[in-house]
């Protein structure tokens, strides 16, 4: 593309403010004592402490996944990270009205409707500030249906049997470097349980916010949909703009029992660093769902526009016969962002089906990799997968890569992989400009069209948000 498609002037990151609030933090560094301290602060039962310590021991023997992922970053000093930071005023709240006004202000700025009166959209929200859950809305209403939606800490206190049964059942403590680290030090997160046959009447939502400098965010989300239950869950993320890199190493586990459906949607807009690549979040996340029962379904939709580095592969283990896994992804790498993202579909059960639609957008000097594994085991008779993996390049200093791993151990299965790479052409932009659109609107229209198959999977309000976000994150990518 010609010289007109260059120069990067990123608009200022809208969520880059810091909330001035006192925090209760442990000193930087990681050892068994820190883990014991975290566990103690949270008043955890002995089994959970033991679980954390086992994860820590496993983690000590592991290495950062530099070798295979198509990302580069200096080694992280794990002794320089604060593993627990909580807004000081946080104590169990009687109601949301008791929430610290500063926190409420922060969430208002971010446009999160914590105030229940404002919850006309019908979205129940859990908000995680640094590492601690600060309030879950709509709890009572959900409670009448037997739905549990609370912070992870509360779940450990109030529903220990459920937590113990499912925690680590999808992502074991020795799964991978960051998942093990998370298992050792996670501080909070969200917990959802939808009982048998219950259709959760509203979208459940968690909003993650990193505020404190020098902290890592290690949240843990566990969602269990019992037989025949359905639930849709939304996740949003932002962080202040800082010169340092901050680590976000979350684990999300989904369990769908027989006939259950879980839909998990993410709009990730962590701070991406400046255009020279200074600062930004390292988003090293393990997300995995297990279709444990027959005819269950797990669907991941992600729009990844932020973070300096994104390393995540929301996956589905298709264990139950006739279960369905889906992955819809839009990943943007602009400026100096790096994204290595994709999915794993592991077919174990008979007639299991999976669909992967991945849209990677590279601009500026961004580097975008799709990495996906489709594995069909011997007993997964007549399993079926369709993968479509499209890359779009804007400008000529960015990169797009595709790493598909396909392993089929069964003759009756069908696996299809389609890939395409397109470049936003001067002709496309000129065509739209000739019809009266300016360059930014032209790019935005072309990119939104490119992502349409993914956006239509998002809940309505999220889809509108995602489109806007995409426009903002690509602003200035074409001069």
């Amino acid at each position: 593309m010609s010289s007109s498609v260059e120069s990067l002037v990123n608009r200022e990151y809208k969520h880059g403010f810091v909330t001035d609030i006192e925090s209760d933090s442990v000193p930087p560094g990681l050892n068994e004592d820190v883990i014991r301290l975290i566990s103690e602060k949270k008043g955890e039962p002995e089994w959970l402490l033991e679980w954390r310590l086992r994860a820590y021991k496993a983690w000590l023997k592991m290495e950062e996944p530099h070798a295979w992922a198509n990302i580069t970053y200096p080694p992280i000093d794990y002794q320089d990270i604060v593993y627990y930071s909580a807004p000081k005023t946080v104590k169990p709240l009687g109601s949301l009205d008791e929430l610290d006004p500063k926190l409420r202000e922060t969430y208002d700025k971010l446009g999160i409707p914590l105030n229940e009166q404002k919850l006309l959209a019908g979205v129940a929200v859990d908000a995680i500030f640094d590492s601690v859950s600060v309030g879950t809305s709509y709890k009572e209403h959900l409670g009448e249906l037997g739905i549990i939606f609370c912070s992870f800490s509360e779940a450990v206190r109030e529903h220990p049997a459920l937590v113990q049964k499912y925690l680590g059942s999808v992502v074991p403590i020795s799964d991978n470097f960051y998942a093990s680290l998370n298992s050792a030090v996670f501080t909070d997160g969200s917990f959802v349980y939808v009982p048998k046959g219950v259709h959760c009447p509203m979208d459940l939502s968690t909003y993650f916010r990193i505020n404190q400098a020098g902290t890592g965010q290690f949240e843990r989300t566990l969602i269990v949909a019992d037989e025949g239950a359905t639930v849709s869950y939304l996740e949003g993320c932002t962080a202040p703009a800082r010169d340092e890199n901050q680590l976000h190493a979350a684990v999300v586990e989904l369990v769908a029992l027989e006939g259950a459906t879980i839909k998990y949607s993410t709009v990730q807009n962590w701070y991406a660093g400046d255009e020279e690549g200074v600062g930004g979040i390292y988003n090293f996340v393990t997300k995995r769902g297990k279709c444990a029962g027959a005819r269950s379904k797990i669907s991941w939709t992600q729009v990844e526009t932020g973070s300096a580095i994104t390393w995540k592969y929301p996956s589905v283990i298709l264990q139950g016969d006739d279960s369905v896994g889906e992955f819809y992804s839009v990943a943007v790498a602009n400026g100096r962002q790096q994204a290595d993202t994709g999915t794993k579909m592991i077919h174990l059960g008979r007639r299991t089906r999976s669909t992967i639609i991945s849209k990677g957008i590279s601009a500026g000097r961004g580097n975008n990799s799709y990495r996906g594994q489709v594995k069909v085991m011997p007993k997964a008779e007549r399993a079926w997968n369709y993968t479509q993996c499209d890359s779009m390049l804007i400008g000529n200093r960015c990169g797009a890569h595709t790493f598909p791993y396909i392993d089929v151990q069964n003759r009756s299965s069908a696996v299809e992989h389609e890939a395409s790479t397109t470049k936003i052409g001067e002709d496309q932009i000129f065509y739209l400009k000739q019809r009266g659109l300016n360059t930014e609107n032209a790019i935005s229209m072309i990119v939104n069209g490119f992502c349409k198959e993914v956006f239509k999977e998002l809940p309505m309000e999220f889809a509108v948000e995602a489109q806007k976000l995409l426009g903002v994150s690509l602003e200035g990518s074409v001069g």
């Binding site: 010609s2 007109s4 052409g425 001067e426 002709d427 496309q428 000129f430 065509y431 739209l432 400009k433 000739q434 019809r435 009266g436 659109l437 300016n438 360059t439 609107n441 229209m445 072309i446 939104n448 069209g449 490119f450 992502c451 349409k452 198959e453």
Partner: protein, 255 residues
């Protein structure tokens, strides 16, 4: 309305000129046909008028309603009322025709300081315009030109023109690749939009389009120069004699 004076253009700085000094005046209400053999610069002229960034203007000037057209961005030219029907319309996957047309229409309205139309109000306008190209509403839910046949793409250009109602429409070989029926639809579309305050420039290889759209003037472009201008009978003469004989005429013009 449009005044082109000694316009020269190339495909980049230091490259030889493709347009070698073109002068042309188009008045409101007129239809001008520009004919000429392959490679004579017809499409280049159309693209330069619309502001395609691949071309560099190396000399001359172009005024549109008194304004310096060459100084304007492509979208500014569009908002001023210059429309180019593309020879090769571009595909925009994932964006429906309806959405695209409304976006373009609303840009024009914003440019005029008017309120944007919502989808429902726009639909009323669109239904009228669809009749011009004899299309049903189902074409509006398809992605812009994506998977369209050559003929459908050209009809889509005419539809866009009908919706945007430009002051000056430049049709770049909109007739090529069309069967007789499609040609008639395109021609009818152009004729339906004809008004005393609007003008049209038809860039074409063939006389047959001019059976349907009667031009006020016909110009012959040869090797980057307008070598002859005349009435509609000039098109018939070209049809009969071909373009070969023009090389001599061109030499005379240069001399």
């Amino acid at each position: 309305m449009l005044e082109i004076k000694n316009l020269c253009a190339s495909i980049g700085p230091g490259e030889p000129n493709i347009l070698k000094g073109i002068s042309l005046t188009v008045n409101p209400g007129e239809v001008h046909a520009i004919m000429g053999p392959n490679g004579s610069g017809k499409s280049t002229l159309a693209q330069v008028l619309a502001g395609h960034p691949a071309y560099t203007v190396t000399g001359g000037e172009v005024r549109f309603e008194g304004e310096d057209l060459l100084d304007m961005e492509p979208e500014e030219r569009a908002l001023a009322g210059v429309f180019l029907a593309f020879q090769y319309p571009v595909e925009i996957p994932g964006i429906t025709n309806a959405y695209f047309l409304r976006a373009a229409y609303n840009e024009l309205r914003k440019g005029r300081g008017e309120e944007e139309l919502d989808p429902m109000d726009f639909l009323d306008i669109l239904e009228e315009k669809l009749k011009i190209v004899k299309w049903g509403p189902e074409m509006m839910q398809r992605a812009v030109n994506h998977g369209f046949s050559g003929g459908e793409k050209k009809r889509n250009e005419i539809l866009q023109m009908a919706v945007l109602e430009p002051k000056l429409a430049i049709l770049d070989e909109t007739d090529s690749g069309l069967d007789i029926d499609a040609l008639r639809i395109v021609a009818d579309g152009v004729n339906a939009l004809k008004r005393p305050d609007r003008a049209t420039i038809l860039v074409t290889h063939y006389q047959r389009l001019l059976n349907h759209i009667v031009p006020d003037q016909v110009h012959v472009l040869f090797d980057g120069r307008l070598v002859r201008s005349g009435g509609k009978e000039l098109a018939l003469e070209l049809e009969a004699k071909g373009y070969e004989w023009l090389s001599e005429v061109a030499e005379e013009v240069v001399a």
